[in-house]
Each structure stands twice: as C-alpha cells, then as structure tokens.
Symmetry: C2
C-alpha cells in the first residue's frame, strides 16, 4: 500500500485548507511548489464555479459544465492531497479539525476557506418552502422544480395551482438579478415546448429590501439594470420586505400576499457555521474577524480567506463576499504561511479592486472598472461572457460552456432541461435527516401529481 505523505525523510509542515472554492484553490496554487504538505478538505469532490450556478437552475448549463473534479485538479502535485469530508469543529488550541465522520485531522497551518451558507435570517417558512441556490444539488433541484411547474400548468390547460407560474426571487444582488434575467428568457423557450401554456402569464417577481437593485453598483448601472429587467417583464419591487413564507405564498410586511409555488432565496449569505466553533465574537454576517495579515486573532497559524473572512479594509469596512476577494485572499494566506515558515514577518492584505460585473441576460450586462469607468449593454455582456469562460477551471469546462452558450445564443434554445427525479440529501446544514425527509415528501407529492 502506498503512503500518504510521500517519501520525504524529515517531516514537512502540514498545511490544511478547508474548502475547495475560489479561496482554497488559489491557496493551493501558491503552495504547490513549496516545501510543505498540503491537505485540502471539501464536502464535495469538486470545485464549483459559483457565479454560474443560476444558469444550471435555469437549464442554460449542465452541472458538470461549472464543476471540476477536485482530485483531477491536484493529482499532478505530489505535495497536495484531497480529502472528501465535512468539517464539524475547529480545535485551534490543539491544532486539530473534527470531521462529521468522527475523524480528526491535525495541522501545522490552517487556511479556513469554507465559504458561506444561505442566510434565512430566521424568517418563518423560508428554509422549509424556499429554494436556496448555493450548491449544485440546489441548482438541479430548482431546475427540476421550475420545469415541473410548466408541466403542471400544461396538464391543467394553462392554469395549474395558484401561482404555479409565479416565480418569486428574494434578493436584488447579482444572484437575484441574474436569476431573474435568466428566468424570463427561459419563458420564451418554454412557450415553444408548452403549447397549452400561455407563458406570457408566467411572471418573475424580484423583491429587494433596499431602495435599489445591485446596491454596490453606481447609480447609472443600477437604474439601467432595473430598466432592462422591467422591459423584460420582471416585476421589480424594491423597499419590499418578506414577513413570512407559507406553502404556496409569500407574505410581505406590507400585508400583501403573493401566491407562488416557487420562492428562490437569494437574499443573503452568512459565514460557514464552523466559524462559530472557533470564536464567539464574529463580525457582521457571522464572518471570522482577521488581523491585517488574514490570520485569526490569537491563532497566528490559522488564516481565513474568502466569504468566511471578516476582513476590514483601511476604512474599517468589511470587504464584499465576491470571487475576486476570495481569490486574492486565498493566495495571500498561503504566502503568509510560507513567510512564517521562513521566519519572515507577515504582510497585511490589501484588496486590489478589479471592478465588478453582472449580467442581466441576453446582450445586457453592467461592468464597473476600477477607477469608476462604467460599461453597460451589449459590450458589457460580451465582456462578461468572455471573462466567465476565461475564469472557469479546466479546458473541458471552458469548451462545454462555450459550446452551450453559442448554442443557446443562436438557437434561442436551452440544453437538455431534464427533470431528474432526485432529491438533494445534503445541505448547508449537513446531515439534517428530518429536513431531508421533508424535502423528499414534498418532491414525491409533486411526482404524484404526474
């Protein structure tokens, strides 16, 4: 039997990375030629390209287009190992991680890059009846559900249960905006598939608590985004708060009720709960506070990067939970570990703003460059598509996404749009049997109608 740690004669420092997202992946890149052993742990055996998850949910892309096998990413690097597992708790005093399996993993240096989970803000019924959109099974589940709504409406000669074709999205950030744009485009394709359904009766309601969509974007881009969405028949409602969700309806604070079979929850995220096992004093959004070098106060051998990190910029503001921050922090954390091993002083992390971009759908996107230059419309959209293909990990993924987008763009069609009779069994709260059983029950009730 082969040995896990290679055949070095004297032990090398062991760096453990929790999470194979953008932060974790970029940390490994900085360590793959270093004289350390790296173990990267993720609860999935793949890296997923989160920014395009909404395209899986709307049948634009297939799951494997935006996911890349984790072992494939690391197998050429003798000093990097991968482990499939879910971290339950961090015992930083003992330099030890506890996994759900009962196993423990020890480290010399730790990079916490376990990302964020959906934040339901304790609103009644959201977790029970809403669809989150953080993981690949979530996206497949939502795709199945959306397509089933059209099947039901078709069977009922265009009616179906009340709100069958009302899709409510909560959250006017990039995920909510992109999801809304992709959904209304899907309706046009559905019109060709479902002759009995008048898909002009299908509608998307986008709810945002704040006065604007895409709050971090400049005024002109926010207005453009809203105008485009409304022109495409999205019912955009800002300054609107959800009071509670029941089976078949969203109840607003205003007293209004929107009948819907589909509530998509894109309203917010919170740091991975394992942060709480390390510190009781978390930053806003349950993020783990950091020292300037990204290490955790009190634990100079533990670094945190990406959506889990509550790092403040020079103005004292928390950095946004976006891919670019995760990418830069992951690499920075890894470099600081190498500096520490060499007994060099660590360096403070400074975020290099590369701008931001979001797509609203076909031929429409918004881009803000660093320095404030703005772009919108077709060229912004083209740039968005180019950057997203370029940023994907792996040649096959790029090729697959490229082919799918070309296909979808010119045929005004979507790919296979399969309804797979499957249910997610893991979630942000891993191994919650009761919650999963409830989901199974609901999905089987949907099947019964068929």
């Amino acid at each position: 039997m082969k040995q896990i740690e290679g055949n070095t004669t004297r032990p090398r420092p062991r760096v453990v990375i929790v999470g194979a997202g953008f932060a974790g992946l970029n940390a490994t890149q900085a360590l793959r030629k270093a004289n350390v052993d790296v173990l990267i742990i993720d609860r999935n055996n793949y890296h997923k390209f989160q920014p395009l998850l909404y395209q899986v949910a709307t049948s634009g892309l297939e799951p494997e287009d935006i996911a890349h096998n984790a072992r494939d990413l690391f197998r050429d690097y003798g000093n990097i190992s991968f482990r499939l597992g879910t971290v339950k708790a961090i015992d930083a005093d003992q330099r030890r991680l506890h996994l759900h399996s009962g196993d423990a993993v020890t480290y010399d240096y730790l990079i916490l890059a376990a990302g964020a989970v959906t934040n339901y803000f304790g609103i009644d019924g959201v977790q029970e009846y809403g669809f989150p959109l953080k993981n690949l099974p979530d996206a497949i589940d939502l795709r199945n559900h959306i397509l089933r709504q059209f099947e039901q409406a078709d069977r009922a000669n265009g009616t179906g249960p009340e709100g069958a074709l009302t899709f409510v999205i909560v959250g006017g950030g990039p995920t909510g905006v992109e999801m809304a744009g992709a959904l209304v485009e899907l309706f046009d394709i559905m019109q060709k598939d479902y002759r009995n359904v008048d898909t002009t009766q299908a509608n998307v309601v986008l709810l945002e608590m704040a006065p604007h969509l895409l709050p971090p974007y400049p005024e002109s881009l926010r207005t453009y985004t809203r105008t485009v969405l409304e022109k495409r028949n999205v019912d955009v409602r800002t300054e609107t708060t959800v009071e509670k969700v029941t089976k078949g309806a969203v109840h607003l604070k205003s007293g209004e009720t929107i009948p819907t079979q589909t509530l998509i929850w894109a309203a917010g995220i919170r740091g991975n709960p394992i942060a709480e096992t390390m510190s009781e004093d978390l930053e806003k959004g349950y993020r783990l506070g950091t020292k300037p070098d990204l290490s955790v106060p009190g634990y100079s051998d533990v670094f945190v990067a990406g959506d889990m990190a509550g790092h403040k910029d020079d103005n004292g503001d928390l950095l946004p939970q976006v891919a670019q921050v995760a990418i830069q922090q992951g690499a920075h954390a890894a470099r600081q570990i190498l500096r520490r091993i060499k007994n060099q002083p660590t360096e403070a992390f400074h975020y290099k703003d590369l701008g931001q971009m979001a797509t609203i759908g076909r031929n429409a996107a918004v881009v803000e460059f660093p320095g404030g230059m703005k772009l919108k419309g077709f060229f912004a959209w083209f740039m968005w598509a180019f950057v997203h293909i370029w940023k994907l990990v792996g040649f096959r993924n790029r090729l697959d996404v490229f082919i799918s987008w070309i296909h979808n763009y010119f045929t005004y069609d979507r790919s296979a749009r399969l309804i797979l009779d499957m249910v997610p069994i893991s979630d942000e709260i891993p191994h919650d049997v009761e919650y999963v059983n409830q989901r199974v029950k609901e999905r089987m009730e949907e099947l019964e109608k068929g």
Copy 2:
C-alpha cells in the same frame, strides 16, 4: 389560452402512446404527418438512450449526453403532444388510461411501449441492497456510490469496509459485460486520483447463471468476450447463482459469500407492470402477448411494441428485448393504426434482424451481422462507437458524446466524475415512499462517514 387539439374542425382519431423510448419514438415518427392526433405519455420528460446508461454509471458520459428532452423532439409537429405522467392502469374496455395523478386519458388507438423494469426474481435483499441500472437517476446514484467507495478507501488508507472495492455484477448479458469492461477501465483512472488506494486491489466479479456470457451470441464471440474480460482482470464466474443479498455481501447458491458494498443487478428485466392491469395471461417475462399484427388479443385498437411486447417469431420464440426490435415494432404498430383508420387489413410484424453488437471496453467489441458474419476486436469496437453515435437522437447529443469519447480515449481519462449528494425519488415501482426513505437513510449514512 391556446387549445390542446389544434384547430381542426372535425375530430381526428386520437392515438395515445405510452412510453417515449425507442418504440414510442419510432411510432411518433410514423404518425407525425398522418391525420391523427397523437399524445405520447412518459414518466420522464426525456427520451433516454438506454444502451449507454452504463457509461453514465462509470463516469464516461454525463446524464444529458444520453437523454433528449421529449418536448423538444415533438414541438415541430402540430399533431403530437407530450404529457409527463405515469400510467397506473389500462381500462381497454373503456378505451381509457388511468394515471397515478388520478387523471384519466382516453384514446381511440393505443400503443403500449412502456418498456421493462428490473426483474429482481424475488431474490432476498436484491432490491434493498442492489443497484439497478434502468433509469437515469439509477445511473447517477450508482456513479455517486462507486466514487464514494474510492473516497472511503482513500480515507482508510486503502482499506475501507470489507469488500469496499469489490464490485459484483450479476448478469452476463450485454449490460453486465459492458458494465464490467467499463469498471475495470475506471480503476486505472482512479489510480491517478487516489494515491492512497492500490486500485489493483479493486476487482470486478461478473456472475452469470448460464454457462456462457452473452448467451445469444455465437460461440467464438462469447469465448472472445470472456477471454478479453479475464485478461482485463474481471473475475468471470458462469454457472453461478445468487441465493440472497445482505448488507455488505452476496451469498451464492454454492454456499460461498462475496463481501461487497456494491451489487449491480443486470440479471434481467420484466415487462412494465401496467401489462398486468390489462391481461392476467402474460407471456414469459410478464410480456403482453400479441397477435401477428402486434395488437393485443381481444383489443384490436391496442398495440404493443418493444420490451413490453411478447411477440413470437415464426418459430414460436419470443423476440429478444433489444433496441432494434423496439424500433421496428414501434413503427409497425403505428402503421397498422393508420391502416385500420383507412379500413385496410393489418399486416403481420416480421422482425428484420440487423445483427447485434456489444462492447467490452477500449478497442474491444463483438459484432454479429445478419447472416452470421462475425467481427471482433478493434474494428468491431470502432463500428460499435460509430453506430452508437449515429443512433443517438439529436445533434447536441451526438456532438457531446463524440467529444467525450475522443477525450476519454486519448487522455485515458473520464469526465467530471462528480459525486452529487442526491437520491433517486422515483423508481420502477413509482411512488413507493418507504423504499425511497430507506434509500435516503442509506445514502445519508454513507455521507455521515465523510
């Protein structure tokens, strides 16, 4: 709201087809220009290319590569409608189908092409612990499970639970042979992914009750198949019968026990149980007996085609349950309905044997041409690949499979090999909540180990 039946002024005969497999699809092709209204019902919203299902289970292809959206297939034909639904019973006296949803569908002519389901032969524990391979969710579930076995072995430094890397396949027909060949090839790829696992310790046991693999093939091809599989380290055991299956082991009639975490059941199929709601007097394999024109005795307006049909050739032998028979029968049944509408006498079905082919893996396949000419080895394999791409439905499917096969062949690699944390919720016995709950429990226990 649009109308379902088009805008013809006088009603046209309504042909209902149950099943969008090979038989159902070929029936619609014969009817799409005819003066009839066609409703095709399937419990999935896609046509699946069953012969390549084993490649999904072994990470060679992705689900949507071998599945094509049903509505997409029919949307250009104004007289063909699709309905997602599961037929529960046939009331042929009333010309009515009952669906699981409680709805009823009436017909003037009916083509039963609902295929076959896994036959567990009432052997203890097979349905509970075995993996069937008839549906797309089955294939995804099996893929997840196979990959999880390697993850477990990796964590346990190459050991894992007893039989973790022993994959037992029951059934030496084409599915069992192809699955065995694909699995041993997967081991080579796994060796690159799992450094802690000595994949030469992984093994495939192929059990067949009969004295030979591929019983319907000529002697020389059967021998070749066995030789190639054994050279590739498949443990082929003919004249071997399974007594029962328990958690973690297969018990043979001989008294021997094989420890395994993975029992793949490819030992047989039986006609779709809806046949039993129509006739108590079924042919072997629970297939619905037919008159020479494929109609059901006593019901001249009901035809049966494909794996459900118990049609006998001139020698009185039942035709094999293979794609070619289904394709030809589907078209024949449709043509007979058109003849009957025109008050023409119906014609007897005669199967035109186009030969048979099965692949054993890379560069190895067997082909028997009609008339008895035989081919084996590389050219047979090349021909097999060509025919399978050609026979796929739709350009995107052909392109995707072609790219994947080129990729897999030259890189000695497989595609994404994702472990999706999802469980099938429907099965051959639709809506069996207890069975699904048991599966959820088992899969979650597997997850707990992670």
